[in-house]
């Protein structure tokens, strides 16, 4: 009996190893060309904004002459939101001796930095690089990490909100308090709203299952709602949209995706162009023209006003009356 147990275990491992052998043949031929640059990518979870950032990054590399399969090898890892995988994935990526690493979202970026203090790392979709201890300061990162922040222009977004509902007395903010980025943004938005003289009601949801109730509760009690760029609320944006239409309440969102899926308007960043911007920084590093230590963290240069016309009609607002804040 004992022996058989061993055999089962060994067979299991052997099976896995064999599968690995057969699988690796197909990928081990591209590194012979010395001009090929290798980039390891670690993404936390699949999600519209993060996916867009990655797509924009790849497109940006292509525009700058780095094409996958040609002179670029991309190794992509996605933890599917299981953080226990981040460590193994970072180790794997570093072991591939890449020329550059890309970390998408805060925990992925931290995990990569924990693994290597020498390989250049660019990050994106991180709101506050300094608070996440990825850089010493935004102007002078000082280490092997730099990148783009997805901090949205909250001041302008609140100005946009107030221009749509100038008579608002009570404004709701909803987000997932478990997301570092959202919490920072919510606090800033609260400050701006209070400056504008309105009462702020904050509500949080920790999973998409709670979004419906939180939204309903806020929609019943406020004149408008603000949602920062929040993964949980982005995933459930259509739920928010339905309630917003029903209760006739304008929802201003942090991201373009959220507005398209269920918000009224945003003045914000496009993750695809943020990814492209990140790629430009990566290219400078790949070409040896700059090093992360002295490359300041960049914020999006491509801010745009996006209005969900269908939503505007449902709320009885003329879309053309919504103007970008100054």
């Amino acid at each position: 009996m004992k022996k058989r147990r061993w055999k089962t275990g060994l067979a299991l491992l052997a099976g896995v190893a064999l599968f690995g052998l057969s699988a690796c043949k197909s990928t081990s031929n591209s590194s012979s060309n010395s001009k090929v640059k290798t980039i390891g990518v670690l993404q936390l979870v699949e999600h519209d904004s993060l996916d867009d950032a990655y797509k924009g990054f790849v497109a940006g590399l292509k525009e700058n002459g780095y094409k996958e399969g040609d002179n670029l090898k991309l190794i992509f890892q996605n933890a599917q939101n299981n953080q226990d995988n981040l460590k193994s994935m970072s180790e794997k990526l570093v072991k591939e001796k890449p020329d550059l690493l890309l970390g998408i979202a805060t925990p992925s970026a931290q995990s990569l930095l924990n693994e290597t203090q020498t390989t250049p790392i660019v990050v994106t979709a991180v709101t506050d690089l300094k608070a996440a201890k990825l850089v010493q300061s935004d102007k002078k990162p000082g280490g092997n990490v730099t990148g783009t922040t997805d901090m949205v222009p909250i001041k302008q977004q609140i100005a946009l909100l107030m221009s749509i509902v100038p008579k608002a007395k009570k404004v709701g903010i909803m987000y997932n308090s478990g997301e570092a980025n959202s919490k920072i943004q919510a606090a800033l938005a609260k400050k701006e709203l209070q400056k504008a003289g309105v009462t702020v009601v904050e509500k949080t949801a920790s999973t998409t299952n709670d979004v419906q109730q939180v939204t309903t509760s806020l929609a019943n009690n406020t004149d408008a709602i603000y949602i920062p760029t929040d993964n949980t609320f982005a995933s459930a944006a259509s739920v928010v949209g339905e309630i917003a239409k029903e209760k006739k309440i304008p929802v201003i969102t942090g991201s373009v995706g959220q507005t398209n899926d269920g918000g009224l308007a945003t003045y914000g960043i496009d993750y695809r162009s943020l990814g492209k911007q990140t790629a430009k920084m990566a290219v400078k590093i790949l070409k040896g023209k700059a090093s992360p230590a002295t490359m300041p963290v960049e914020s999006s240069t491509d801010l745009q006003l996006v209005v969900n016309k269908e939503m505007a009609k449902a709320l009885g607002i003329d879309p053309s009356s919504i103007k970008a804040p100054k």
Binding site: M1, K2, R4, R5, W6, T8, G9, L12, L13, V16, A17, F19, G20, L21, A23, C24, K25, S26, T27, S28, S31, Q43, E46, F76, Q77, N78, A79, Q80, N81, N82, Q83, D84, N85, L86, K87, S88, M89, E91, K92, K95, E96, T106, P107, Q110, S111, L113, N114, A131, A132, K133, L134, S177, G178, E179, A180, K183, S206
Partner: protein, 307 residues
């Protein structure tokens, strides 16, 4: 670079992580197998351990003290689950889920932010690193071994004491134990506390190894614990208590090794969880398959009726 070339380093890294994860698996084992209770508190106590240790370290406490505080915080959480289950008569599964849910907010309070970076901070491994002057991964292996040895020895010793034996009796046969004058409720609560202490200890060590504590790091941890236990049981059956704890360590290492190998495949990244699930099914069903095959063989070999 082929997978075969990578195997040694994959194994070392899996071993370093598996050693830490095995503390979680041992914790889950204590409730799941010794007390025969399915306790889901793990998904809350794991990030709790990380939260407490990280907060303590950031506030200047020594990493060893911080890790110890992590362990104690887990025991408190286990105490709550234990009370909910035994005194308030809430079914074990629900009691665990309730504590886990509550801990989400508590962890958020402790951390004050959803994510505490520990990059560049002193941690329990850097201490060993300075002392022995080795590569980081070996520092983790050495520290992991020291902590595990300590925990396993303490557990072996504890489960030989009167209380320890009473806990084991409670798990084996609660009615009989009660008839023999054992306070089964108290025994269960103590079991819950030790179990969740170990899980939080794993959380505090892994946060230090990962370079950050995150509010959402508990997702899926119970699966890691159970998988490690099952792998251990598939490979090594019917061992004494102490040896079982050691086999769980191996189980946890093998689980991480399997994950590391899956990562080496050029698989579609969206399928990662599916592959993990398939591997788990393979592990979980292998005892069944083996039994069936074993019986057939027995039938073929013996003329008399096999059992």
């Amino acid at each position: 670079m082929t997978i075969i070339e990578n195997l040694p380093s994959l194994f070392v890294s899996s071993a370093s992580q598996g050693l830490l994860w095995s503390l979680l698996a041992i914790g889950v084992f204590l409730t799941f197998r010794i007390l025969d209770i399915a306790d889901l508190t793990a998904e809350g106590t794991f990030p709790l351990g990380g939260a407490v240790a990280a907060t303590a370290i950031v506030n200047g406490l020594s990493p060893i003290l911080a890790t110890l505080l992590g362990f104690i915080s887990g025991m408190i959480a286990g105490f709550i689950s234990g009370i909910l289950h035994t005194k308030l008569k809430i079914p074990a599964l629900l009691a665990g889920i309730i504590t886990m849910t509550g801990l989400y907010s508590i962890n958020s309070r402790i951390m004050g932010a959803p994510n505490i970076p520990l990059l560049g901070q002193k941690n329990i491994f850097s201490w060993v690193n300075d002392f022995f002057v080795v590569e980081k991964v070996w520092a983790v292996v050495i520290t992991g071994c020291i902590v595990l040895l300590l925990v396993i020895l303490l557990l072996i010793f504890f489960f030989k004491t009167e209380i320890g034996l009473a806990i084991r009796a409670t798990g084996d046969n609660p009615d009989m134990s009660e008839a023999n004058g054992i306070n089964t409720d108290t025994m269960k609560i103590i079991g819950y506390m030790i179990s969740n202490g170990c899980i939080a200890l794993a959380g505090s060590l892994l946060a230090q190894n990962n370079g950050f504590a995150d509010l959402n790091s508990g997702v899926g941890t119970i699966v890691i614990g159970l998988a490690s236990i099952i792998i251990a049981e598939v490979l090594f059956a019917n061992k004494s208590f102490g040896i079982r704890l050691l086999t769980i360590v191996l189980g946890a290492i093998i689980y991480r090794f399997i994950i590391a190998i899956i990562l080496e495949f050029p698989i579609d990244q969206n399928d990662l969880k599916l592959y993990s699930a398939i591997i788990l099914v393979l592990c979980l069903t292998s005892p069944l398959l083996k039994n069936k095959l074993g019986r057939k063989r027995k039938k073929a070999h013996t003329t008399g009726g096999a059992k």
